[in-house]
Each structure stands twice: as C-alpha cells, then as structure tokens.
C-alpha cells in the first residue's frame, strides 16, 4: 500500500512538471510569433520582467489589471505586481526587492528619492478620498458639511461615533492621520478602531459596525453593492491624493532592472496611457476613478 502511494506521488510530480513544460513551450513560441516583425525578439528576452511594488488601492480598483496587460503586449516586459501598503512598498524599494514603485505618499516619496533609493519621481495621477458612513447618517454630516472633512471629523470625534481607521501604515492610513492632524484632533478612545487591514476589509468592518471611515473612491465604488454605506463627505481639497512613479536606483541595488523600470515610467506618464487612465471606470461607475496629471 505504502509503495503504491509513493509511486503515485512520484508519478504525479513527474506529470505536473511535464505539464508545466508543455504549457510553457507553446506560449513562448506564441510570443515569438506575435513579435515577429522583428528586432524586438532579442529585446523581449533581454528586458525580461519587472517587479512593480504598489499599493492595494491600485490593485483592488482593477486599474492595474486593465493597464498592465497592455504594457506587456506593447513592450514585452512582464510585470509582477506586489500590492502592499506604501510603507512596505518603499521598504521593498530600499531593499531592492522591487524595480519600480507606484505609490501615494508624496513626502515619503520625495525623501526616498533624496536618499538615493530612487532615480527620480514623476506624478502619474490622483484620486480622491471620501468619507463614507451609515445610510441614515446619524450625525447629519451629509446635510451640514457635505464638502468639509475637517468639520465632519470634529463632529465624529465629539460625538464619539465609531470610526474605523486602516491602522496599517499604508498611504491611505497616513493620509487619514494627516487630515486628523489638520483638524487638530488626536483620535483615540473606544470609538476609534484601528483595523490594521486593507481598504476592502476596513470598509466591510465599517459597514458591519455602521461607523464612518475614510476610503479611496475606487475601492468604495467597486464594493458599494455589498456595503451598507454611503458617501457622506467628498470634494474637499484635503481629500485629494497624488500618485507617483519611481524607478528604483540600480546604484544601491545592482540587480534592479532599471531599463525596464524607466520604460514603465515613461509609458505610464505618456499622453496615450494617461488618456486610458482617464477612461478607466467611466463605463462601470459613470465617473473616472483616477484623474491623470503627469507633466
């Protein structure tokens, strides 16, 4: 009995490896065929792939799923996306675990480049945050302060309404903290929940607890059907959020694929791709999720 199972296992192993090889070969030939109008074939191999370290919001909103296949098709560069908080994304850049970053915490990004970890930083696009809350809005924030996040947060803190914070050192979390700071409030107490989770999870927690939270518009819109939440405050300048792209500096980490990283930066800031970004989400939500503003 034992012998048979070991044999089976070995067989299974051989079978799976054989399968992966079988699958790989046709795709390879397929790629070659696609790029047959030549010169590019060698380039494709040389360029290889890049690791894009980015934030959960670009991944969760579906923007990358929309853009990256186009990039790969046009340039032959495979992009491996790792979606983490901005803090971790920058750390990955410092450790040379990523080739290019697409993050949104401008002050940290500028510091990152100044310290020599990135070669340069360019604006890509911005999106905006919204304050979402229960549909019946017990604090009447929607009628009183539809475009004033600072007054809204003041009332939440005063009335100690449940507020769910990302609490995970992500770009969104940093943004939220900076808005509290601008409003001169130090949020703490039983009403202020620090989730330590991604945006989707935090929205679900907020919906369950019928509290308030600050979310990026894209994640909220993509999940609103499963949430008992509504947009309460929007359009305040304090809620805007700038994304930047940074190629990781190969001087610090020699194995960084800098050529491909720069190509990615040029591509995502090009006029054509900026137009694509502007179209993204319009069909589904009636409004763009990201406003391109590369210079």
């Amino acid at each position: 009995m034992k012998k048979i199972s070991i044999l089976l296992l070995i067989f299974l192993l051989i079978f799976t490896t054989a399968c992966t090889k079988n699958v790989e070969t046709p795709t390879n030939t397929g790629q070659v065929e696609e790029t047959q109008d030549e010169t590019s074939q060698e380039q494709v191999e040389a360029k290889g792939s890049i690791i894009l370290s980015t934030t959960t919001s670009t991944q969760d909103s579906g923007l990358l799923d929309f853009l990256l296949p186009i990039f790969t098709e046009e340039t032959g560069i495979e992009v491996k996306t790792i979606a983490v908080g901005t803090g971790k994304a920058l750390q990955m850049g410092r450790d040379g675990e990523a080739d290019v970053l697409l993050v949104h915490s401008k002050a940290d990004e500028i510091k990152f480049v100044e310290e020599g970890y990135g070669t340069e930083r360019r604006d890509v696009m911005y999106n905006d945050y919204i304050l979402v809350g229960p549909k019946d809005d017990p604090l009447n924030l929607k009628t009183d302060y539809p475009n004033n996040i600072l007054e809204g947060l003041k009332r939440i803190a005063e009335k100690e309404a449940v507020f769910v914070s990302r609490g995970d050192d992500s770009g969104t979390h940093k943004k939220e903290l900076s808005i509290w700071k601008t409003a001169n409030i130090e949020p703490s107490g039983a009403w202020y929940l620090e989730a330590g989770a991604g945006m989707g999870d935090v929205l679900k927690i907020t919906s369950e607890k019928q509290g308030y939270t600050i979310s990026d518009r894209g994640t909220y819109l993509s999940m609103r059907d499963v949430l008992d939440l509504e947009i309460i405050i929007e359009g305040d300048e304090n809620l805007f959020n700038q994304y930047g792209v940074i190629p990781v500096n190969p001087e610090k980490n020699p194995h960084v694929n800098i050529d491909a990283a720069i190509e990615f930066m040029n591509w995502i800031t090009s006029d054509r791709v900026q137009d694509l970004i502007k179209e993204f989400g319009v069909e589904e939500y009636g409004q763009p999720l990201f406003i391109p503003n590369a210079k």
């Binding site: 971790k88 989730a195 679900k204 927690i205």
Partner: protein
C-alpha cells in the same frame, strides 16, 4: 540584512520590558484559542469515541471524510463563518462579526474535525479492547465512552494539545472574522501578518518568538506528564 538583526534586538527588548501591547495581543490569542479548543474538545471527544467503537456500514467512507475535514483550510472556515455572521447573513442580527466571539466560533469549528478525527482514529485502534472489558463488566454505552476516555486520557490530551497548536497558529480564519482591530481582535498571527505588510519587523519577530515559546511550553508539559504516567 541589518534590519533582521535590529528586529531581533528590538524583539528581545519588547519581550523583556513586557510591552503592554504585546501582552494584550498574546493574552487575547491565548484566550481565543484556549476557549475554542475547550469547546471543540467537549463537543467532539465523546462523539469521536462513540463513532470509534461503533460498527456501522459506511465506516471506511466515514473515516475518509473525517480525515479530509481534519485538514480543512482555515480561510474556508473563516469565509463560511464570516458569511453566516455578516449583517446580511442569517445570524447578522447578533452583531458578532469582527468580535472576539466570532474568532472563538471560527477556531472552534476549525479544530472540531481535528480533535474528532484524532480521537476517532485513536479509539478505532485501541478502543475495542477497553470496550470488551467494559462489556464484561456490564457497562452501558455511556459508561463505556467514559471508561475509554479515562483509559486513553494521555493520548487524548496530546490530541487536544495538537488542536490548540493548530488554533493558536492559524491566521486565515481569525483575520477574516476578526478583522485585526487593535485592542479588540488583534492576535499574534494577524499582527505578524500585518507587521510584515507594513515592513515593520521587530514586533513581528517578538511575537514569532512568543508563539514558538508557547508551543514549546505546552508540548513539554504534555510530554512530561506522558512519561510519569
């Protein structure tokens, strides 16, 4: 590379100074996993012994299904519990999702098959001798089950320890149903996972060390007891 060493240094500092946050996270982990293990044991040990000595038609199939459920992924348990407890779910009115109780429920469901399966296997191989003795002594069904549990208590204890280890080390279920809320539902494994995505290692390493220590202590206790017996 430096940050790994720094992480270890900071971790030891956190451990020695009995950092308040670390303590609250560790104690919540222990409370949740201990409760879950106790509930699961109470429910499944008598049942496992009952089915272990009982002879019925599809016992082989039953064994296989049981052993399959023993390795059920924790995220699946988490997902099912989250769906049932969410506001729109059948038990939504209880407001349990993202609370400590939801975590206990999820972990209980997670380890029930484990305690059941291990004890069931144990009884199947060693229970019938005891059952025959019980039968000659004129015991009824319930007395027999009690006798078997008594006779096999050391091995059952090992099973319970295994279940506890599984509960305290899983992250999928508690992350989904607990939400990793600071001071409420944040346990060791969810903290480690979060600290990693924040790129902040010291606390993660400290908790990792504690997690290993807890396992070590529990298994040492069990095995020292085992030898005395």
């Amino acid at each position: 590379m430096n940050y790994i060493l720094e992480g270890f240094k900071e971790a030891i500092r956190l451990l020695i100074s009995l950092d308040k946050e670390v303590l609250s996270i560790v104690s919540l982990s222990i409370i949740v996993s201990t409760s879950a293990t106790i509930f699961a044991s109470i429910i499944s040990i008598p049942l496992a012994v009952y089915f272990g000595i009982k002879k019925f038609k599809a016992k082989r199939l039953f064994s296989r299904i049981t052993y399959t459920f023993m390795s059920i992924p924790s995220v699946i348990v988490g997902l099912v519990v989250a769906i049932i407890l969410s506001r729109k779910g059948p038990f939504g009115h209880l407001n349990l999702l993202y609370t400590k109780n939801a975590m206990i429920i999820a972990q209980t469901l997670l380890v029930i098959p484990l305690v059941f399966g291990l004890t069931y296997g144990l009884t199947k191989s060693r229970g019938d001798v005891i059952e025959r003795i019980a039968f000659t002594l004129g015991a009824n069904k319930w007395d027999t089950i009690v006798l078997i549990i008594r006779e096999l208590k050391v091995d059952i204890l090992v099973n319970i320890a295994t279940a506890f280890s599984r509960a305290i080390s899983e992250v999928g279920a508690v992350m989904i149903v607990g939400g990793n809320i600071k001071g409420y539902t944040r346990v060791m494994t969810t903290t480690i996972s979060m600290m990693n995505s924040m790129g902040d290692y010291p606390m993660a390493i400290a908790l990792g060390i504690i997690l290993l220590l807890i396992s070590f202590i529990i298994h040492s206790l069990i095995y020292s007891y085992n030898r005395e017996d």
